[in-house]
């Protein structure tokens, strides 16, 4: 039997040389006459250790990271193939504090299994959720999801069981499952990691969704910025079909469900579910007014369950381990786990899956280790480009949908972007408006025109700041504009852009109006 070596094929690892490392290791093994199998696994999420190499030994898998291509020769000399000692050796990855303290449910297999191998997925306990679901009635499947307390992980937090039940009850000749894999929020990469590292789990989740609502076909709509995820999902769909988990008779049950991968074309707004449906139909990704809900009148006019990657990927474990186990985790009405993503200027960046309820400060300072630059944390943006900026004095906020709403924020897709004290918050407010103006679908006026006026207004504020003039009237105007966008926009793009803008103005007023003082010291240092 050949020696198994793991070199992540996840984009995070590939972006810092994993492909080259895999090539060098293969050459090294050939020179030594060793028979090795190089598995391109997903990432375990400890991105600060990527590329994180592992070798299978009698004592389990031994990890080394972060490994640069130039380290490979030294590693091999130090006995890498036997799990030998080296400065980069971290021991068993599961014992590393970053991984040890997590509660992994959705990401249980990510980084562990071979994402290209259906049989490896099955050997690790894959398909057990689908098997359990096949043993239940359609109605009971929906009840199982409701009992777990699962809420949509895409950002809105809508109860998944209620959505599925609406689609299940709708009468139609055809129904669809659509997986929203258009993860465009900066600071988020959980969907990408899951699809690259454990794609069969998403296939399994979609199949369970299909048989629960009575849909026989599904689409996973992946953004084009994720070519590695697209390739991984296409392979997994093919593999699952060959193994009989997709098709006309899934798992020998007599039930039919099949699916297809579709690729977006570079439009942030297509992450909004109704835009996404238009895009899937081959149209411009323009928002649809709701009602009618997609659950009643969705893709091609049929009842459609639109779910995010993380929501669907949470489903197999809910069925294989029972909804109670999932429901027991969490806080208040936020049940289960959330894969939190630590990004930006952060020391220990990566994905950290924990039950809801952990505080923002613990995530940023303890797990994330503060900034990578070593300067003080000044602001963190939670929930992507449409999420609010939180200052350190709000770091006691528990990670929970309702707790964040209470403080005028949102957890969105679980992304946390860390900024040090050189960040210019007026600049970030301008960027939020600019992003909205670039990405607006154009259907509603508050978003289409409001974002452009927003950029102009922040520019006038910045000009006043430059000259040391008071910008009070412009600040009032900007707040008023945000109010119009928040309540007048059709979808979250225009409706939520006020969150980053208003939070920046509220928590960092010293960056917007210099009439009474000077720019903060950190910011001056940056200039």
């Amino acid at each position: 039997m050949s020696l198994r070596i793991f070199v992540p094929g996840d984009a995070a690892a590939v972006s810092v040389g994993a492909d080259e490392i895999a090539d060098r290791l293969a050459a090294s093994a050939r020179e030594r006459g060793l028979s090795v199998e190089i598995v391109r696994n997903g990432s375990r999420g400890a991105h600060f250790l990527e590329p994180l190499l592992e070798v299978e030994t009698s004592k389990g898998r031994i990890g080394y990271g972060p490994v640069a291509p130039r380290d490979v020769d030294g590693l091999v000399e130090a006995g890498f193939f036997e799990g030998g000692d080296h400065a980069l050796r971290i021991g068993r990855p599961e014992e590393h504090p970053f991984l040890k303290n997590q509660t992994r449910s959705t990401f249980a297999f990510c980084g562990v299994v071979d994402p290209r191998s259906e049989s490896d997925y099955a050997a690790h306990g894959g398909w057990l959720g689908l098997k359990a679901a096949l043993a239940q009635s359609q109605e009971d499947r929906v009840k199982t999801v409701s009992a777990s307390g699962l809420r949509g992980r895409g950002g809105a937090g809508f109860p998944t069981g209620i959505k599925w039940d609406t689609v299940r009850r709708a009468e139609a000749d055809r129904k669809y499952i659509v997986c929203n894999a258009d993860e465009g929020d900066s600071g988020t990469f959980a969907d990408r990691m899951l699809m690259e590292g454990d794609p069969f789990r998403l296939v399994e989740g979609m199949a369970i969704a299909g048989i629960s609502v009575g849909a026989t076909f599904g689409y996973v709509y992946i953004r084009s910025e994720y070519p590695h995820a697209v390739a991984a999902m296409e392979r997994a769909v093919e593999g699952a079909r060959l193994a009989g988990w997709l098709g006309t008779d899934i798992g020998g049950s007599g039930l039919a469900f099949d699916m297809e991968v579709r690729v977006g074309a570079g439009a942030y707004v297509c992450g909004e579910e109704t835009s996404l449906l238009n895009s899937l139909e081959g149209k411009r990704g323009i928002v649809r007014a709701k009602p009618p809900l997609p659950a009643i009148h969705g893709l091609f006019g049929r009842p459609t369950a639109v779910n995010n990657v993380l929501s669907l990927a949470a489903v197999p474990a809910i069925f294989s381990e029972g909804p109670e186990a999932y429901e027991r985790l969490g806080l208040g009405r936020s049940r289960g786990t959330m894969p939190v993503q630590l990004a930006g200027n952060v020391r220990f960046g990566g994905l950290y899956e924990v039950p809801f309820g952990i505080t923002l400060g613990e995530l940023v300072n303890e797990i994330g280790g503060g900034t990578a630059s070593g300067r003080p944390v000044r602001a963190v943006q939670v929930g992507g480009p449409l999420g609010a900026y939180f200052p350190p004095h709000l770091f006691d906020t528990p990670f929970d949908y309702e707790e964040f709403t209470k403080r005028d924020g949102l957890i969105g897709h679980g992304g946390i972007t860390v900024f040090d004290d050189t960040v210019d918050m007026a600049h970030m407010a301008r960027f939020a408006m600019e992003f909205c103006s670039v990405e607006s679908c154009g259907k509603c006026t508050p978003c289409r025109i409001g974002a452009v006026r927003g950029v102009e207004t922040v520019d006038r504020i910045l000009a006043a700041r430059e000259e040391g003039r008071a910008a009070k009237a412009e600040l009032t105007l900007l707040a008023d504009l945000c109010d119009t966008m928040k309540f007048g926009s059709l979808c979250a793009l225009g409706g939520f852009t006020p969150y980053p803008v208003m939070s920046a103005m509220t928590h960092f007023p010293e960056d917007f109006d210099l009439s009474a003082g000077r720019l903060p010291a950190g910011l001056q240092a940056a200039e």
Partner: protein, 161 residues
Amino acid sequence: MLDRPARSTPFDETQLARIIADHGSREGALLPILHDAMAEFGWIDDAMVPPIAEALNLSRAEVHGVLTFYHDFRRAPAGRTVVKLCAAEACQAAGGRSLVGRAEERLGTPMGTTDGEGAVTLEPVYCLGLCSMAPAAMVDGRIHGRLTPERLDAVLSEAVR
């Protein structure tokens, strides 16, 4: 797909007809057709609009509308090398903003443009999902994370020779 290494060739009617035939029977076939045409020709010539519209029973305006809505579809050939720098928040937080000026200077073309010789296109991208490896870039479909000014220089000189 995004920056699949593509040639920018004049559009060929037979090849286009084959692409349309490959997808014609699918529901919502327009995006897959445009993606494949992009991969084949490197851009979408306005002259491709009428045959696509006819094959899918759409108006030319509908096809034109889709073509112009999405950032991925180019209506003019790109440079032989395409450099995309991530402009989103996480990369900004990690020093991405200063890389823009450096790339513009090195490549001799401002952000969002193709240089006069058609050698290179420099443009922003909003998030490659490498937010924990920021700042990040994509060069001819290859991704690069943890960029420093020096690493950016090395990546650019290798790409644009």
